[in-house]
Structure formats: C-alpha cells, structure tokens
C-alpha cells in the first residue's frame, strides 16, 4: 500500500511537471498583458506535431527534436502575436476568449487535415525507456527525465527572472505596466519576447507530453482545461504559483483516478471551484 502511494505520488508529480512546462508561459503572459490566450494549448500541440515530423521525416534524434519543437512554437507565436493578438489587447476578455478559442478550432481542424485523427506515437531512444529501481520502487525512466527537465527549466526561469536584466524588466512590467513604461521600458517588446518564450515552452511541453498522454488533434482543447486550472489556481504571473499549482493538479489527478476512479475528475473540479472562491486570484496571486 505504501509503495502504491509512493508510485502514485511519483507519477502524479511527473504529470504535474509536464503541466508546469505546458502552462508556465501562459501564467507569465497573462500576468503581463492580461491577455487571455486560450490558444496556448494549441502551441503545445504544434510542438508535438513538429516533434513527430522531425523524428519521422527527418530522422532527428529525440533530444534534437525537443529544441526544434521549442523553436517552431516560439516562431509561430511571434508571427501570430505581431499580426493578430496585438489588435486584441484592449478588446475585453470575452473577445480574447472567443478569438483564441476560434484559433484552437482552426488549429485542431488543420491538424486533422494534415495528420488525421489518429494518435501519433513516437519511438523514444533506448536509454529513456523502461524503468529503474530506487529504494525498492520501480520508477519510469522517462518520468524521471521529465521531472529533471522541468526542474532544470524552473531553475533557469527563476534565475532568469531574478538575476538578469530582461527578468528585471519583465518583473517591473508585471508589477506595474504604466510605471514601467514611464521609466522608458519597451513593454511591447518585453511582452513579445516573453510571449515567444512562453509559447516555446508550451511547444516543448507538447513534445514531452506525447509519450505520456498521446497526441491527437484534440490536444489543444483537452489540455487547455488543465493549463487554465494550473494558471488560475497558481495565480497569474507567478512561477512558484504555477509550479505548486501544476504539482497539486498532477498529483491530485493521478491519485484521484487511481484511488477513486468514479469520482476522480469530479474532485478535481470541486477543489478548483473551492480554491477560486476562497482565493479568486489563485494561491500565489497578488493582484
């Protein structure tokens, strides 16, 4: 029983870390511009399909396909932000929600057109397959890999945000956009860069997710809900918040489905609503 709990905790944490990579970008961009981008999951899907293409068509190894997914999602997001999203920054949340949902619809249809509705499996390199035994528990190697990746990304993000010039600018813009502008910061440019990085991370998350949850055209929709839960529970613009929110959701989701399969998803939504009612800004939200 104890080892079951440990395994569930481990799998849940790995799933949570996957959700963290998928959603942290949205948390920061939402905190920065208050732009509700429901197409964030679609960038994750894009990253997933780029990985599939890179590995199958061009024979890239998995470790090189991951940066390709990151770059592709980041590039496409810059394009979309420049041409479409910036028209909507002052358009009200309803218009933003609808426009980006429209984009998810279009992305899902496009994915169906190019790849069909079937699941797209990838073949992992040999060293990422199987499991290892740690303290008598059999842990999946790929899940350990995901946790390590996510922790590394967290470290880079926290370091970048706390210690670099761009990080200081982002923090200033999140805290008070008008004052930041008054100090001569180019908030538009900062936002563009943050948006690209965040979408790139979503793309990376989509690539990492293929082996765990699969990839099909409904990915953008299905994981949108998870991503939104992480962002709203964690609080906008907070990396710590996203990390805690994602870990909680991942563990809660896996544990719920394992121990109480009938009402597992019910509990998740119940907790979501309860948290938002007590803390409408999320656990770590400040504004």
């Amino acid at each position: 029983m104890l080892s079951n709990i440990a395994i569930v905790l481990f799998d849940g944490f790995a799933f949570g870390m996957l959700l963290f990579v998928l959603s942290v970008g949205l948390s920061v961009t939402l905190g920065l511009m208050n732009f509700i981008n429901l197409a964030h999951g679609a960038f994750g899907m894009l990253g997933g399909y780029v990985t599939v293409l890179a590995m199958r068509q061009f024979g890239l190894p998995f470790l090189l396909a991951l940066p390709a997914a990151f770059l592709a999602a980041a590039l496409v997001s810059i394009l979309v932000e420049r041409t479409l999203f910036r028209r909507l920054y002052n358009a009200g949340e309803l218009n933003q929600v609808l426009f980006t949902i429209g984009m998810v619809f279009v992305a899902a249809a496009a994915a169906t057109w190019f790849f069909g509705t079937v699941q797209q499996p990838i073949v992992l390199p040999r060293w990422l397959r199987g499991s290892v035994e740690v303290f008598g528990l059999r842990l999946g190697v790929y899940r350990i890999f995901i946790i390590a990746m996510a922790l590394a990304i967290t470290a880079v993000l926290v370091f970048g945000l706390e210690r670099t010039r761009l990080g200081a600018q982002i923090r200033a813009a999140v805290d008070n956009q008008r004052v930041a502008r008054g100090l001569g910061l180019d908030v538009e440019k900062i936002f563009g860069i943050t948006f690209a990085l965040g979408s790139g991370l979503a793309g990376l998350g989509g690539a990492l997710a293929i082996e765990i949850v699969g990839l099909d055209p409904s990915f953008g929709f299905h994981y949108l809900v998870y991503v939104l839960i992480v962002v709203s529970v964690g609080g906008l613009g907070s990396i710590t918040g996203s990390f805690v929110g994602a870990a909680l959701l991942g563990i809660g989701d896996v544990a719920g489905k394992y121990f109480v399969p009938e009402i597992g998803s019910f509990l998740i939504y119940l907790i979501l609503v309860a948290i938002l009612l007590v803390r409408p800004l999320g656990l770590f939200g400040r504004r």
Binding site: L88, V273, L277, G282
Partner: protein
C-alpha cells in the same frame, strides 16, 4: 454638453417605453418564424432544434450580453433542465409535457440561484474558471450518478404525452416545432420586458462599471443573482424542450462543447440585443446542418474562422454589423 442636456429633459420612463415599442421588423421577424411550416415542412425537426438553441442562447444573452457575466459553463443548466424532464418521465412516469417543462425550469432556476452566490463573488479569469469548473462538475456528477441519469449510455424510456392532453407529438415535427417556438416566443416576450425595465438598465450599469453601481446606491450583487437565476431557469426550459421533443437525454446536454457553442452563436449574432441570440442560433444551426453534411470533420474549422473574423471585424456581431451598414446608408 447638448447630449447631457437632452438626456436630462427625457423622462426615463418615456425612454423605456419608447424602447419597448414593437417595430415592423420585429413583427415581420416573428411572422417569418412560421415559414418553416409552409416552405420547409421536411426540415421541421431542424427548425425545432434551432428554436431550442435560440432559447438557450437567449438565456446566455441575458447574463452575458446584459449583465456582463462571461460564462463557459451554462450547459450545466441546459443539462439539468433536460435531465429533470427526462427523469420525471423515465423514472416517475410523469409524462405531461407542460408541467414537466415548468418543473424542469424551476429546478434549473433553483440550482442557478444557489450557484449565483458563487458567481457574484468572482470576476475576470476567476469567473470564467468558476463557470467552467461548475460546468465540468455537473458533467462528472451526471456521469457518476449512472443509476439516475443512465450515465454514458443516456437515459432510456423517456416518453412525452400530449400537450394539454390534446396535441400529440408527431413524427414530422409539426407539434414539436410549434411547442418549441411557443416556449421561445414566451421566453422572448419575458426577456424583452425584462431588459426594457429599470431592472434591465441596472444590469447594463453593472456591465459597464461594477464599481460605480454601489456608489449610486444600486444593490448590484442582488441584481446579478436575480438575472443569473432567471437565465438558469430559461436554459433549463430549453433543455427540457429538447428532451421532450426528442425523447432522449444524453451527457452531451451537459458538455463543454454545448457551453462553447452557445456563446459562439451569441457572438455571431451579437450580444446584448436579444435578436442576436436568435439570429446567431439560426446561422449556427443551419450552417452546421449543411456543412456537417458535406464534411463533418472540418465543421469546426469554419466556425473557428468565422469567430476570428467576427471578433476582429464585427465586434457587435452580425446584427450589429448590419445595423451599422444600414445606419451608414441613411
């Protein structure tokens, strides 16, 4: 300045009365809803689906278009109404449509009243997430309570009796469409009266600026609760009509897709103008019927594209766009 002076001289009651006068277009519009009986008698089933969708969209327009509550989970009330009507018939043998309809509406309204206490506490992203969460919560609950709802297989054994013991639901949908259209028309009359009242004005005040309403002594939370309850009851009516005209209920009545579709319809037609809900529902349902026949997989591509175009170029929906075009010609 001239505008404010003019506003001072107009009596608010006279202004509201002027707003609630019937125009020729409105009368023509409602007469046109009778056309399917004569022109497309083979499409009456679709016509009643359109009327149900329009009723549902109307209920969302009341909270989204007039009170500014963005919801992505309103299907919960649609589904609650649909299941109430279905369970009354399948589990308790209560087959009378009109009383079943009213009970379903009242029950959905009661749940809406409870939910409204949660809704008024939150705004912005948290509001969207709470409505979304409540919607999923209801879906999962209905799925888990298979002994009552039939779970994923849907509820079997729903039968609907004659309306007032006289009109029997026929295979071609004559009675079905008449029934759905009547409920829609009555709900529309009620909504029209509601939005052209001082209560409707107070709601618009909430939509425009939540903080100023308490400052002028308006109890905005209570207003929001009332309109949310009314809207929930109306969505419940729409769901019940769907159950009674099709004799089936499934989990799809509670799905996120239904919540999203209804907002799409409303946006296509235009929010905050009642007719937008109906026009949007007509366009959406007819387009889906036609496009899905040709190419079901890519139906959402067109809807997505349409949404993006409408948001970018017609912020007030198709009706608002047409009004502006008409205004330019004058």
């Amino acid at each position: 300045m001239a505008a404010t002076d003019a506003a001072k001289t107009i009596d608010p009651h006279a202004w509201l009365a002027a707003r609630s006068r019937w125009s020729v277009f409105e009368i023509a519009f409602w007469l046109a809803t009778l056309l399917p009986f004569f022109l497309f008698p083979t499409y009456l089933t679709l016509a009643s689906q359109v009327a149900i969708a329009a009723l549902f969209a109307l209920s969302v327009d009341l909270i989204l278009g007039y009170a500014g509550i963005v919801t992505l989970g309103h299907a919960m009330f649609f589904g609650i109404g649909a299941y109430t009507a279905g369970i009354l018939s399948a589990r308790f043998g209560w087959n009378d449509p009109v009383s079943g309809l009213l009970i379903a509406g009242a029950f959905a309204g009661a749940i809406g009243f409870i939910a409204s206490y949660l809704i008024v506490r939150v705004q912005h992203l948290a509001l969207i997430m709470v409505t979304l969460g409540l919607g999923f919560l209801t879906y999962e609950l209905a799925n888990a309570m298979g002994w009552l709802t039939g779970g994923a297989d849907g509820l079997r054994g729903v039968r609907t009796g004659e309306i007032f013991g006289f009109f029997r639901f026929d295979l071609w949908g004559y009675v079905g469409y008449s029934y759905a259209l009547t409920v829609l028309f009555l709900a529309f009359l009620f909504s029209r009266r509601l939005v052209n009242s001082s209560f409707g004005l107070a709601l618009r005040g909430v939509r425009e600026n939540v903080r100023r309403m308490p400052a002028i002594g308006s109890e905005y939370r209570w207003h929001l609760r009332v309109i949310y309850t009314i809207s929930a009851a109306m969505a419940g009516l729409a769901g019940a009509v769907l159950t009674q005209t099709t004799n089936t209920v499934g989990l799809n009545t509670l799905s996120f897709e239904r919540s999203a579709d209804v907002v799409v319809m409303l946006i296509l037609g235009g929010t905050g103008r009642l007719y937008g809900a109906i026009v949007g529902a007509i366009i959406f349902m007819v387009a889906r019927d036609q496009l899905a026949g040709i190419n079901p997989q890519y139906w959402y591509f067109w809807i997505g594209l349409l949404l993006m175009v409408v948001v970018l170029f017609m912020p007030n929906g198709i009706l608002g766009f047409l009004t502006r075009l008409a205004g330019r010609r004058d």
